[in-house]
Amino acid sequence: MAIDSNSLTVLSYFSGLSVAELEVIKQSFFEKTIQRGEMIFLEEEPADILFFLISGIVKLFKTSAQGKEQIISLARPYEVLNDISIFDNGPNPMSAQAMSTVTLYGIKKGRLEVILRQHPQVSSRIIQVLATRTRQLISLVEDLSFKHVIGRVAKILLEHTGDGAGPGQRLTQQEMAAMAGTAREVVARSLKAMEERGLIRLERHRIVISDKNALQEMINQEV
């Protein structure tokens, strides 16, 4: 399949380039289609190709030594998937798996380096993209290290329980995140941690608090 220069203009790395410049740059790209469930790259493997997601959804995740999966993010179309390993020459910090049929644009590292030399404004855009991501990660580090989010989520759960007489208030993970002042992913992780400690059970569309006292203790310790 031919590379579509309109798709390249939407990629943050190449915004602001002229049509003529994009026509030249697109010659360096190739297209790849991946089926749902297939792996795109694996954690700790070396990377030689930079991938941009053009259509579909990609799960970026890490796997612990115990085989536990932690989703870092769900990439949407026009996001770059593996710039860290391409630019720091290290292995992939996470794995990527197609969550639907996925179309990728790929470019070999060597070809990208030529583009960066010929079009310095692309380097500026990449610095901006990486700086934005660093800012997001700093915010995440703050959440995980200082804010004791799990205690806040526990408090939200206890404050929003139904009285048993009728249906309780319903909350989405996004709403809990907004209340706790954190990201949705951190709420999901907190709920999972509470479930693993036997404090709650996640049942389809219900969160069942199975140990209210332990949850209260968690709040007292952490808030």
Partner: protein, 68 residues
């Protein structure tokens, strides 16, 4: 009646990402409207809510205390 995630059609931009990510086929496009079909296979994974770029899709939880 099976409880299913909800969609705010005013916020939906018809990007289709929820349909792509759904593992159980519960989300379909009917004409120009993203709709849910009631199926037992929906395990409330909340991936559709996570991927929705406009916040149109919500998977809410009822919070209850277990009777002992």
């Amino acid at each position: 009646m099976i409880q299913m995630p909800e969609i705010n059609q005013d916020k939906c931009n018809l990007c289709g990402l929820c349909i792509e990510i759904c593992r159980c086929g519960a989300i379909i496009l009917v004409g120009n409207i993203v709709s849910f079909i009631e199926i037992e296979e929906c395990h409330w994974c909340t991936l559709c809510e996570a991927i929705c770029p406009t916040g149109a899709l919500t998977c809410s939880f009822e919070i209850i205390i277990e009777e002992r």
